[in-house]
Amino acid sequence: MAILQTAYIEEKFDTLQSSHPNVLLNEVRQKGFQTYQNVGIPSYKNEEWRYTPVSNLFKQSYSFSEKVSTINQASVDAFRLPDSATANELVFVNGLYNPLLSNIRSAANEMVIISMEEAANDIRFSDILKEHLGKSSLYLQDGIHALNTSFINGGVFVYVPKKVQVALPLYIYHIADTVQNPVLAQPRSLIYLAESAELKLVETYKTAGSSDSFTNEVMEVVVAGNAVFEYYKLQNDIAVANQVNTTHIRQIGKSYVHTVVVTLDGGMVRNNTNIIMETPGNEAHMYGLYLLKGNTHADNHTLVDNREPHCFSNELYKGVMDDATTGVFSGKIYVRPQAQKINAYQSNKNILLSEKASVNTKPQLEIFADDVKCSHGCTIGRLDEEALFYLRSRGIDAAQAKAMLLQAFANDVIEKIKIESLREHIETLIVNRLSVQIS
């Protein structure tokens, strides 16, 4: 427990490096730490962080990747997603993968789930790690990302073999135990989908306790040819739960990726969702909803990097800002010189409900190839007066009419969740929330 000062971080880093003598991981961590020392924590002057004052999170003390925790099966029960009995469940406590609390229900030949350390020492997987672990550092060169990389420890490696379509979804619970102290959790994972594999992954976050938590997560996903990867993220934590969340997906073969990120509550939340299309003919769909209340600050940064021709991407992010909330959206579509015949679309729609709420959006196109169709659209507005009037004139009271319209607004994103029980769960959360919030 100490303030996040460089000296303290250095000490922790040295301890970690000497206690886990694995050449591969040590090297990755060393590189990360070098970057961290070079660039430090980004200030608002850093273009990627201008609307999200992340350095504020470093003004206080946290306990640091400690294993001590009182979380047990019963406490996980309180956080479980619906239909958890028919899902694979991974539990991270304070950023460390906890195999005892996790339930792997798929057969061993369907999916390999082992700790990062095991994977690094396993000759079947060490090459994959060598090739793919830490590749996201090429895109995210800030100190926050580097801090996670410096402390790769207790992470998880998931491998889906060729042609395996994993029937059960993979749920990942990130639990921060802050009953005693504020916690800095830095979960790290590498997910590898071999050719023609299929995986559905759901991540959610919970803080147990009332002190601050700061989850600085990096998930790297590698999707090989003909594979299908579905990714869902639900953020509905308490107001002192802060996050910087990176999901870096690389399509290394012609494949299909579908992501939905839903942010309903939390403190300062930042999501980096990157899709890197490294081969021709990739397809990706990205959806996001931020429905905010209280003082939540939600920042979604997305990147679609079209490195090769014939790729398709479609992106829709929608936001509703109430109370004193702030929504941030920054979407970048990048088309490399050789990447011809790209179709890339992006849309960001925002509704402001309160005088204290604000939204900052930055949809960007960077295009270096000529035979492309790219567009982005962005709107900021309020609820449609005429639609409200229509509902009122049919005897629906103002609050309910408003709730209905917002629900419809949110539904464009929610309906993209292909796991039915999860979709219904989130729908219920939204309906309950709107009926309380707007009255």
Partner: protein, 481 residues
């Protein structure tokens, strides 16, 4: 249509035709910049003390600043000590009419196709000609004076209307605003000053032609336009420059002040030397342009056609302070060969019921890079602010780039903001349609580009619209093959 095609035919295949050097003895100060140079410039211009102090303050601030790195452009570092900061054609005795103007000068203008006599007689445009840094000829002054309009060079304004200059200079673009604005504030040599009194509608389009002439002389223009309540003015700015191999720096500042119910329309056609096909030479155009709608119902409208310069870096902005005020920005930016443009606008909504509209058309060809960078900000008290932005990019050729960096910040729930952007290449079907009807590829491309930019071209005053269309076609020459 016929007319358009004629224009295109005339110009396609022609090289940059305004590249020539006028030989006039110029009075220059030594290369480089330091406090004594600033003092020298001020002294040469016989300025009052407050002006000198203002310059010195700006200079003191400038030396503490760093050159901005964020624009999406690359260029070798500028050696600010290698620039001549003051160059003026030698003072002749006071002129009584145009016939007394140096015939060399008149020839230059003829080559430019803007013979002052012609313009005076035919178009009724008053031209305040800026040759290098000091105004040499001003026409139609009398006619303007009759309605109380002051239209003169900045130096004259400092001498004759110090109270106005002192009140407004730096009020929109503070000397500390950015690196190049600070530099300009310290060493600006001349520019135009325009004051429209209350209730006056300016009877003609005001126009200034800038030319960069002496080798190595950075031009530091400063323009200030003040429109009093319920007045109207339309101002045209057009630029051509001689062909040079060395990069020349141009760091101008333009400030517009519109009071209650006043309207200012500011149109620019920028056609400075863009460098040759290999990117050698060309002008660096780093300009700070900003207007403020001080009072209710004020309106400021920027339109620009940017085809020249090796590097363009400018964001004509509007601060919508008065309630019900309106800001507009219409832009066509065309880059070819190795040109780089990073341009756009800022609309800052402060007052209630303010509206803004942005239409930006970017065309990239050759190996050029074209960026739109814009900010729409709605402040906490800007109730019912409304913005619409459209940024379209057209790509011609597979080695160029088109980039869009919009920033949209809303802090009031009543704001309604829409932004849309598209990037695509020229339509094969459109080309095919033209080819089928016997129009060759190059003409067809020029035709399609003209159509693409039409929405902005329509905003330009008549005189400019024709020239602007020619420019588009000239700049595109050689980009299709």
């Amino acid at each position: 249509m016929k007319e358009e095609m004629d224009v295109l035919e005339q110009t396609i295949g022609s090289e940059y035709k305004y590249g020539f050097v006028t030989d006039i003895e110029t009075e220059t100060v030594p290369k480089g910049i330091n406090e004594s140079i600033v003092r020298l410039i001020s002294k040469k211009k016989n300025e009052p003390e407050w002006m000198l102090n203002w310059r010195l303050k700006a200079f003191a601030h400038w030396i503490k600043m760093e050159e901005p790195q964020w624009p999406n452009v690359t260029y070798p570092p500028i050696n600010f000590q290698d620039i001549i900061y003051y160059a003026a054609p030698k003072k002749k005795k006071a002129l009584n009419g145009l016939d007394e103007v140096d015939p060399e000068l008149l020839k230059t203008f003829e080559k430019l196709g803007i013979s002052i006599n012609e313009q005076k007689r035919l178009t009724g445009v008053a031209v305040d000609v800026v040759m290098d840094s000091v105004s040499v000829a001003t026409s139609f002054k009398k006619q303007l004076a009759e309605v109380g309009i002051i239209f003169c060079s900045m130096s004259e304004a400092i001498q004759n209307h110090p109270e106005l200059v002192q009140k407004y200079i730096g009020s929109v673009v503070p000397m500390t605003d950015n690196y190049f604005a600070a530099l300009n504030s310290a060493v600006f040599t001349d520019g135009s000053f325009c004051y429209i009194p209350k209730g006056v509608r300016c009877p003609m389009e005001l126009s200034t032609y800038f030319r960069i002439n002496t080798e190595n002389s950075g031009q530091f223009e400063r323009t200030l336009i003040v429109a009093e309540e319920e007045s109207y003015v339309s101002y045209l700015e057009g630029c051509t420059a001689p062909k040079r191999d060395e990069n020349q720096l141009h760091a101008a500042v333009v400030e517009l002040v519109a009071h209650r119910k006043a309207e200012i329309k500011y149109s620019t056609v920028q056609n400075w030397y863009p460098g040759d096909a290999n990117g050698a030479g060309g002008i660096y155009n780093f300009v700070t342009k900003r207007g403020i709608c001080m009072g209710e119902y004020a309106k400021i409208s920027w339109s620009q056609v940017e085809t020249g310069s090796a590097i363009t870096w400018k964001y004509p902005s509007v601060i919508l302070k008065g309630d019900h005020s309106v800001g507009e920005f219409y832009s066509v930016a065309l880059t070819n060969h190795l040109q780089q443009a990073d341009t756009g606008t800022k609309m800052i909504h402060i007052g209630k019921n303010t509206r803004s509209r942005i239409v930006s058309k970017g065309i990239s060809a050759g190996r050029s890079q074209n960026s739109y960078r814009g900010l729409v900000r709605v402040g906490k008290n800007a109730i019912n602010a409304r913005n619409f932005s459209q940024c379209d990019s057209l790509l011609l050729g597979d080695q160029c780039g088109a980039h869009t960096f919009p920033y949209i910040e809303a802090a009031h729930p009543s704001a309604v903001i829409e932004h849309e952007a598209t990037t695509s290449k020229i339509g094969e079907d459109q080309l095919f349609y033209c080819r089928q009807r016997g129009i060759d590829t190059e003409a067809a491309v020029a035709l399609i580009v003209t159509g693409f930019a039409k929405e902005v071209m329509n905003q330009l005053p008549m005189e400019f619209a024709v020239e602007a269309q020619k420019l588009l076609a000239i700049s595109l020459e050689g980009s299709v093959g």
